[in-house]
Symmetry: C2
Subunit: 275 residues, 2 copies
């Protein structure tokens, strides 16, 4: 069946947005829809215009023989602020306080709709970086890392918190959790990550930064270049972390078990304009 313009652009929109960052040649669409290159080009410029006008991400056309078109998820600054503000509101619920002054966040992290939004925010933040892999550590980092990786079309590599790795030879390190001063082990299979990869670390939470520091040390064994660290939440205290360069979305000022009070706010990082 030969499609009309309005029909073709529905299909093209679906194909492009289904696979963020994946480059499709114009030939892919001319063959698929039995249409001239000029026709597909016009279709694409309509889609491009709408995405720009509606702040739905960017349709990027790359010219030349190796060129094509791709969809780059990108959240507008006010949209990012809305998502983070909504999350802060949900997190401020005193019912989330767990014994020991922890905050229950598992439901948010395992909500696909919410986590996809968070992934798109990190993808927007890291869009300019030339990343090969998203690195995380089990368990709660995984959903955030996957959502970010999905929006950037990158593979995830997940560090394990034990050394019972059944994945061939692995590198293990001991690290000291910055807050509770316990010695823990993390390990990564050699085959999971090629040497000299460029990576971004994603995790759910940073207190003193001990886990992040451990990840940096482990990644050094793989000669990785760590381009940035993204964490969903950081605690305001201790102010000085064991790692210096990172991006957080939310700051936890206070979890007061006794008075049943939670104070969280959007991080400064996300209030700076993302172009």
């Amino acid at each position: 069946m030969k499609l009309r313009r309005s029909e073709r652009i529905v299909a093209i929109t679906k194909v492009l947005t289904d696979k963020p960052y994946r480059l499709f040649s114009l030939n892919h669409f001319t063959a698929k829809f039995d249409a001239a290159k000029s026709t597909i080009s016009e279709d694409l410029s309509i889609i491009k215009r709408v995405f720009a006008a509606e702040d739905m991400g960017r349709i990027e056309t790359i010219s030349g023989a190796a060129g094509g078109v791709r969809f780059i998820p990108k959240k507008a600054a006010d949209d990012i602020e809305n998502v983070v503000t909504d999350l802060c509101q949900e997190l401020s619920d005193a019912n989330r306080i767990l014994p020991g002054g922890f905050l229950y966040i598992t439901d948010l992290i395992f909500s696909p709709e919410k986590i996809m939004e968070i992934g798109k925010i990190f993808a927007t933040q890291f869009a300019k970086l030339d990343v090969d892999y998203i690195i995380t550590i089990e368990t709660k980092g995984i959903p955030i890392a996957l959502a970010t990786a999905r929006a950037m079309n990158l593979p995830v590599v997940s560090i394990r918190k034990d050394n019972r790795v059944t994945e061939g030879s692995a590198v293990s390190i001991n690290y000291i959790t910055g807050s509770s001063k316990k010695i823990e082990t993390m390990s990564l299979s050699r085959r999971a990550l090629p040497e000299k990869s460029k990576v971004v670390i994603i995790d759910d939470f940073m207190k003193a930064g001990g886990t992040a520091k451990g990840m940096l040390d482990l990644l050094e064994e793989f000669k990785s270049e760590v381009l940035d660290i993204g964490v969903l939440m950081e605690t305001a205290q201790p102010e000085s972390k064991l790692v210096s360069d990172y991006t957080s979305l939310i700051v936890v000022d206070k979890v007061d078990e006794k008075n049943q009070e939670v104070v969280v706010r959007p991080s400064n990082c996300i209030l700076t304009e993302v172009d």
Copy 2:
């Protein structure tokens, strides 16, 4: 800016496919695009027709006051077969054989593009079920569960493999892994899953079914109704598993460490037509 038809349907397609299963009222679109209800209805019928013709999932319109329109991801039978056949080919690589006759699959499970496809396949299989939660067990089940949950717009609940749960009161059970006969512990926080929920279990691998049986026992403590179990891969041996009702996508016939040979094939389950 007032959009033309071809522009409006680009935006509507993006909005609907971004949030699978999420119901949008027609008013949402009439307000957003300053267009008459009849205009939006015509837009939607074009989108609906294209999605049907191109096997891109289903656009479902629900009439009445509480009605609206939503996108239901649905993979065509031949598309499912292609994805699974491709996976089988990748898995057949002898380089995947790990010491002990295990198969390295972590890279596939942590590849967002591949895992989203697998999630859509499970979502297609379970589309007719009235599910509240997708249940999985850490670690490798999580990406598959999230991808399935994303395609069905459902929350994930992840069972932990230890009892160091910092999430308030939890239920723990000991279970015996069906293959290696070791006693392990799994636990789930009380607040993670409301009683009497209807759930589907998703995991990466089933050998004898000991872990799945443990999950069923644990979920019984929550009075859950388990509607189905989906596993990415099952081993052909032992033929008789500790659980009877499950859907697998891939069957592992042989991982021969000595002769460096892997034999895998698409499971019968996925070769039956999905309507």
